[in-house]
């Protein structure tokens, strides 16, 4: 089997996405990348980076492997196995020569997703076979880059295109200082007397214009601002793989399906940010352009796939466990 398969997705932000690139002062800016406009100039467009999405795939595949090997309920992974499964491993430099081909084959046979995503084992970086594009915001500035079927979908569903600026919102959140609440101050050992003295001296500092006093004794309340891509925004995302066996194909599908089942990207996930879902999926077999692209029901992607992958790993679960215990990565 020789096949290159690409999954194209329209993805919807179910909740705001707080995927930050950097902070200026106490404001974090959302991740943007240069995209060329039809007139040849550039604009900075919000994206979800390929790195984030690829890590999501790696994490989903690692969980699927541990699940299939029956290792999710019994914590038994060492530092090296954790690094290999969830972060692609590190060059350890522990051996001067290369990893033996047999070892490499064993690793890929026991953990099929490592053959697809690549990683480092012993002192070798193993290249992957999966390329994960950044997810581009679908907006006025990127509309000309979208495939025909995306444009058609937008037209059919009456999706109005906005400038990318309309998709970004700046919001403020505050970490409260519990000592500002008189009720909570009563819980302190001294009944809050010390805190009250501090807050009074801060107020006094402000009144008399003593900036040092005001600063030293102020409350620890922390307002900070961050940019989010608003909920309901649509993104276009592609993931491409070169596959050489039915097992690899099933592993690839399992990985993508498991990730998209409950995908979250960016920061502030604990406070209702970053949930995404596939709206439309398209599978394209790259090497056979004559064939019409097969439409996939994204929601139905998960239950139909993974049988080969789970059976393969499950049959070798003792070996997988032994391999992960002894891996050097």
């Amino acid at each position: 089997m020789h096949e290159q398969i690409r999954f194209d997705f329209i993805i919807e932000a179910m909740t705001p996405i707080a995927h930050a690139s950097e902070s200026i002062g106490n404001t974090s800016l959302c991740m943007r990348e240069k995209r060329r406009l039809p007139d040849g100039s550039f604009a900075h467009i919000p994206i979800i980076t390929g790195d984030t999405l690829r890590h999501g795939l790696r994490e989903a595949a690692a969980y699927a492997t541990l699940d299939a090997a029956g290792m999710l309920d019994s914590p038994s992974l060492g530092e090296a196995a954790l690094r290999l499964l969830f972060a692609g491993g590190m060059i350890t430099g522990s051996e001067s020569g290369g990893v033996k081909l047999d070892d490499y084959r064993r690793m890929v046979a026991l953990c099929p997703h490592l053959g697809l995503l690549g990683g480092c084992a012993q002192n070798r970086a193993i290249p992957g076979k999966v390329q994960v594009d950044a997810a581009d915001l679908i907006c006025k500035e990127t509309a000309h880059r979208m495939p025909e079927w995306v444009t058609e979908y937008l037209r059919e569903n009456g999706v109005a295109l906005q400038s990318c600026r309309g998709h970004v919102e700046e919001v403020q959140r505050v970490r409260m200082d519990p000592t500002l609440d008189p009720g909570k101050r009563k819980l302190l050992t001294d009944g809050g007397a010390d805190v009250e003295r501090r807050l009074l001296s801060s107020e006094h500092g402000k009144e008399v214009g003593d900036a040092v006093l005001a600063q030293d004794s102020k409350s620890s309340m922390l307002p900070r601002r961050h940019e989010t891509v608003i909920a309901g925004s649509l993104f276009f995302w592609s993931v491409c793989a070169t596959l050489h066996s039915e097992l690899e194909l099933d592993t690839f599908r399992t990985m993508v399906g498991a990730f998209l089942r409950d995908a979250r990207v960016g920061g502030k996930r604990a406070t209702g940010h970053g949930r995404i879902r596939p709206v439309v999926a398209k599978q394209i077999t790259v090497q056979r352009p004559k064939e019409a692209p097969e439409n996939l029901d994204a929601g139905a992607l998960v239950p139909k796939i993974g049988s080969l992958f789970y059976a393969h790993v499950n049959e070798r679960k003792a070996e997988v466990e032994a391999f992960l215990r002894g891996v050097d990565s």
Partner: protein
Amino acid sequence: MTPIVVRATVANAVALPGHAVALDALLMAAVATRDDLPPLGFRDKQEIAIPLAKDREIYLASLGLFEREAYERRFLTKRFPIAEAQAFGDPKLKRVNMSAGLCKNYRIPTETIHLRDDTMTWFAIGDLDGVRDLLSWVHYLGKKRSVGLGRVQQWVVEECEPWDGFPVLRNGRPLRPLPLDWPGLKEYRIEHRVLSPPYWERWREAECAVT
């Protein structure tokens, strides 16, 4: 074997921290992808056959020619999976040092470039159909392909008119690293470079003529 020109149109930025992409290396990588060859460190070093002409053990193909139009900064990050370590770590795993060693987190700045007209061009002498077939396996150029950088939108491979010194020299200037005694060399600098793929094998570096 005919004189050919190869043009790649890319969809986004390309990461090229080292030298430009060599067509011979690209075709060898395509064969390795197609045939699922193990990485170089895991197999014997038998040379991969590609449909390009050779002269004095050097493939007659230029490096990728392009102009830089814009630059962009991005970061390579790596974090130890601490949440997973807490959930699935062996009870013996009591302490992880994240300030040094293998588990150290990092965030390294790197640069990407946008090509003028989003195009990279190569010249070569080779089998047009063979090159075209192999390039259909190449969808990304440069580094960090795994995260979508350098996505190729279109490959164009066609015959072209050769010139004196084609395809490795133009007006006496080398279009790829060449031995110093290569006939026709006029304007060049001398650098230590590798003459044949894989170009990252720095221990094979020799004095070469470059532009």
